[in-house]
Symmetry: C2
Subunit: 686 residues, 2 copies
């Protein structure tokens, strides 16, 4: 029974990965083949596409240098195969980003065009298909990459470093894509926003404002490419964490009765198999969502997000039963999925319900109280998600020990392809709205795109729940894997285990130092957005002064210059926070030893997990408080009143909070853990 398992089931990730890519290709060409928009629409969409691609290629150049250096370092210290695996992990991430962004920057204008036909369902499906290209590419390439590596190297002694290197490749790209993309998108957003206030009569989304194109490019760069790399990394890291624990732990839970070696082999392969099955389930759910296209879009998206974990739990129950593996696996997967959903709903609550109306209310007494209220809401919003993660970890540990904690993250990420589809759907429908506005298509088109956009915003919260919850669980698992790896290597060298005693001054000092890092990343990314936004404001001002007739709509702005400024700033400013994440654990590990590095990870986990939740939720809440006022939901207030202006201040502060610094900090702690796991064998003997 288990023999057939070993040979057949282990291929599921590759098989479904290939199927996912084929479907992605079909969707891609379906989107491309759809009806064209009018000339203005196509021109604007062309600018956005060009800008997005320009960003991507500039980023490739920067990352190539970084990647080459790291690859050489890995090659020297851990061997050529590990170096190649690092490159593979990185390249697959870039490839997914490229495909997804290409699809998204076609799907936006096609969605607008579909909305022009007046049939909401067509617009919805177009945006969904565009997003699904990204979702399926991300999950498919991740599954194929890890699946192939496992099949080829499963008998090899190098499996550990190969898997870790792959994860480091994925993480590094995610780090730079997320931070660089986050800086770009918010610099463009804040820059256009300020320009709209500083330069008379030019609202943020006016077609004469040369920053609008960059703003739309930013949505793709941040929320498609950046988010995609992030989610790809989450999936890879969760699987690798579980596999790493299975590979080296002496205290694996009994998954099935019988031979210990077989138990271990099953434990190593299981995370991959489950993610393969999760991918299959996700594909199914994407089609189900498409079939429901005539329903309320909010229900469609919400359903698409909640279904995969449920179906995956059922599938897991059947498969474990067939194979004689303990149903504790199903329990742990389910706990993870439920936990992720709860976190999502809590996120949704804090960024849409009562807290948002209180922030809007606070804007009545000015920007100061609005900001204070938003900060307080963000801080409060940290509590329940952290308690949920702790509860998931507690229960998962009860069932299957540390391995269970890692599997619960895999369970939470069971619907990766769908989560990414919905995440990419967001900027596509947002762009669709922007294009219809800039092309002056009239309110009935805008009504459709606005609804699609709004739905995307709220359902994104649920996706964020899975992302942040799984990130924390994955870091916990990686952290344990790091420790197990250290002591495994020491045992191989005849040395005693490193005792990670919490009161050891080395560990305490590590904790103090680790707690700084999220603040450094937060500070540098906040400043980066501010600086880049300032440069954009200056350039927009220059264009209005120097291009004759621009104000009177007689001349065209030069959006490429803005795109160029944002791109260059993002490239320059992502270096420091990116390097902090990678260099800090390496320096700490080599100079202060494995115990201090463990402390460093623990300190940055505690601060990073809470800070990223705080920043992301505060940002989301401010954003929605502003929209709440704009929609006239706050009695006596509307766009343009003093209260609204106060809310705009909160929204501006929230922009880098939610889309640059918050996600940057979340990825920081993941990258640090993955890098630590990779260098564990090198520092174990220090």
């Amino acid at each position: 029974m288990i023999d057939s398992w070993l040979s057949i089931w282990v291929k599921t990730p590759v098989i479904f990965g290939v199927i996912a890519l084929v479907i992605a290709a079909v969707f891609y060409f379906r989107v491309i083949g759809m009806e064209k928009g009018n000339e203005t629409m196509e021109r604007i969409a062309g600018y956005i596409r060009e800008g997005a691609m320009a960003f991507l290629f500039t980023q490739y150049k920067t990352l190539a240098v970084f990647g080459a250096v790291v690859a050489v370092l890995i090659g020297i210290s851990l061997g050529k195969v590990a170096a190649a695996s690092f490159v593979l992990g990185a390249v697959l991430s870039l490839l997914a980003g490229f495909i997804g962004m290409k699809a998204a920057t076609y799907a936006n204008v096609k969605t607008t065009q579909a909305a022009r036909s007046g049939i909401k369902a067509n617009a919805l499906v177009t945006a969904l298909d565009g997003g699904a290209v990204m979702g399926l590419s991300v999950a498919g390439l991740g599954a194929i990459g890890l699946g192939v590596l496992y099949i080829v190297f499963r008998e090899s002694e190098l499996l550990s470093p190969i898997l870790h290197s792959f994860a480091v490749g994925a993480s590094s790209i995610a780090l730079f894509a997320r931070i660089g993309g986050g800086i770009y998108t918010k610099a463009a957003d804040v820059g256009s926003d300020i320009a709209g206030k500083v330069i008379e009569n030019i609202p943020e989304d006016d077609p004469r404002n040369p920053g609008v194109i960059a703003d739309n490019v930013g949505d793709n760069v941040g929320d498609v490419a950046g988010m995609g790399a992030d989610i790809y990394e989450s999936m890879v890291a969760a699987i690798v964490a579980a596999m790493a624990i299975a590979l080296t732990s002496d205290a694996l839970p009994t998954l099935l009765e019988g031979d210990l070696e077989i138990n271990k082999t099953v434990a190593i392969g299981l995370p991959l198999v489950l993610s393969g099955v999760g991918l299959a389930v996700s594909i199914l759910c994407i089609f189900l969502a498409r079939m429901m296209k005539n329903m309320d879009p909010a229900k469609v998206l919400r359903g698409a997000l909640i279904m995969p974990p449920v179906i995956l739990a059922i599938a897991s129950f059947i498969i474990m039963n067939m194979l004689g593996i303990t149903q504790s696996v199903t329990a742990v997967m389910t706990i993870g999925a439920i936990g992720g959903t709860i976190i999502g709903l809590i996120t949704d609550y804090y960024t849409s319900a009562g807290p948002v109306s209180r922030i809007a209310e606070a804007a009545r007494t000015g920007a100061g109280t609005n900001v204070i209220q938003g900060l307080a809401v963000g801080m409060e919003s940290v509590a329940i998600p952290m308690i949920v993660v702790a509860a998931v970890a507690f229960l998962a540990n009860k069932y299957l020990g540390l391995y269970g904690i890692a599997l619960s993250a895999v369970g939470m990420l069971g619907g990766t392809a769908v989560v990414m589809t919905v995440d990419a759907y967001g900027p596509i429908s947002d762009n669709a709205g922007g294009i219809s506005e800039m092309s002056a298509l009239g309110p009935e088109v805008r009504a459709i795109t606005d609804e699609l956009d709004m739905v995307g915003n709220t359902t994104a919260a649920i996706g964020k729940g899975y992302a942040i919850g799984s990130a924390i669980l994955t870091v916990l698992a990686l952290f344990s894997a790091y420790n197990i790896e250290i002591n495994h290597v020491r045992a191989l060298n005849g040395l005693g285990a490193v005792e990670l005693v919490l009161t050891d001054p080395k560990i305490l000092i590590g904790i103090l130092l680790g707690s700084i890092l999220p603040f450094l990343v937060g500070s540098s990314t906040m400043l980066a957005v501010g600086k880049a936004a300032g440069a954009i404001v200056v350039e927009i001002g220059r264009q209005f002064r120097e291009i004759p007739g621009l104000m009177e709509l007689k001349a065209e702005p030069e959006p490429k210059k803005i795109v160029d400024i944002a791109t260059k700033a993002a490239m320059k400013e992502m270096i420091f926070p990116g390097c902090v994440a990678i260099v800090a654990p390496v320096l700490c590990g080599f100079f202060m030893g494995p115990a201090s590095l463990a402390g460093l990870l623990a300190g940055s986990l505690a601060v990073g997990a809470t800070m990223s939740l705080f920043m992301a939720n505060a940002g989301g809440a401010w954003d929605n408080a502003k929209k709440y006022i704009e929609k006239g939901k706050l009695a006596g207030e509307k766009k343009g009143t003093d209260t609204h202006k106060a809310a705009v201040v909160g929204d501006m502060v929230g922009d880098p909070f939610k889309d640059t610094s918050g996600p940057g900090i979340a990825i920081l702690i993941k990258v640090m853990s993955v890098v630590s796991l990779l260098i564990a064998p090198l520092i174990a003997l220090l």
Copy 2:
């Protein structure tokens, strides 16, 4: 030699404590006996004094209930003597607060009167004397309390719970005084500020504004009583942490050659002796500062702050030499003192130099960029102080192990009496300015009080450095003491040690939960300030509408009503954050066991240390950025311009950051550690 040590030196804290109180009494009556101001001045000062005392007595009532409950619980679980010690620790704190506040609320108007004479030195000395009453009371009562307890119970088996209970008493009062005082002072400040904007033509510090008195009361309540309780607690906690480690550790460093028992006795008594010597040195420095009264006030205060640690190091060198105790003690004390000074200078840098001008500059493009810049500066400012604390802990541990870490905190707090003197000097001179403004005394008086006030603000940063640095070190030491105590109790009961292994899921879950707590305290205190400020704005508006002739200066406002609102709000809102700090470790300890509680402490330490630095420094920087613009240092800007208005928003956000939430979070982590140490024997066997 060492026999005489035991009998004589151990009395130093009590002896110098009594001397300090006598000097405080002399200063007190000297201040009271000084020349009276005119009728308006005395009336305003009377309002402030009444309001401050009303707050104090209301707080006493609330705290009496709380204290009775906790005393009973301690009595039941740890015995009557421990309960009495808890009450003593609390009552001495309240007594110091009472004396200090009484002195401060006389010294303010006397300082104004002295300034009227035109001789700056007289005004300086009056404010200093008023502050010294608080400084000497705080340090004196703390030294006497701990000194007497030690002398009476040093042979008793109950010494540990008695000391821990005393510290819990001190911490509880500090917690509520700091949070309650912080809410009061910032609610009054923000409330008056908003009222000044909402109600036409009523600036923040206009005598017609009924919130002005409450604002001045708030300075006393927050920065005299609140800060005093905080510093008293810091001193007590640092000494108790060192004594606790000495009492139960099996791995004490060798302080002097010979008998192990004597070594232990010396280790237990040494922290007390050093604080007694520190007090003596502080008294000396206060007199030196008074003698320098004709010099530049900034130099006087700066010198007063930096001298004690230096002189204490020299004294320690001589004393250790005399007694044959290792000079490692002197080294550790010196390292602590230097570390504290560096942190102070860094704090000073981030809240006054380049970073402040950049925040002011950012206000040119609006409140949003001003807030973003301030948040970024605050985040960045976390790094160096944490690195310095880590370095101090590292070096102290090299010299004298965990005991050394605790001693380094004692060294950092060597000048407690002086630090508190300078801290209380601040609100006295601030009040003096307020009184001169409200009494319309003319610009030449205001010039003197303004200079004294400004100097107080900048030197306070150095004092804050000692406070925050020592807090983190103390928590590290308490944390170790907690673990030692747990395993000590287990050993007495024939049980093996609890291994606090970092990767134990219990500890990881504790870390996750612990990281929430600072955010909960931050959120609830931010909201409390917002809520109370809102109520004050409403009441100010009511007075202007309903008191005929108020606007035309023909009628008096009713400041007592504002004072009343602020007092009630502070009492009500301090309950939740206060209870979080005390209940969370108790619940975690009893329900999840000692390992999870250790994790809880570690998580809240990592987040709390960084968050409190971030909030305190961001708040200070915003405040000074606003003042920077008001002083005309930003080209083309001044009070009333749009840029200044944007800076006011940052200042308003910074108010609760720096004076309510930041300090509240700092004290949270101390209270949690002290409570954990107290309950350690009760949960050690769980």
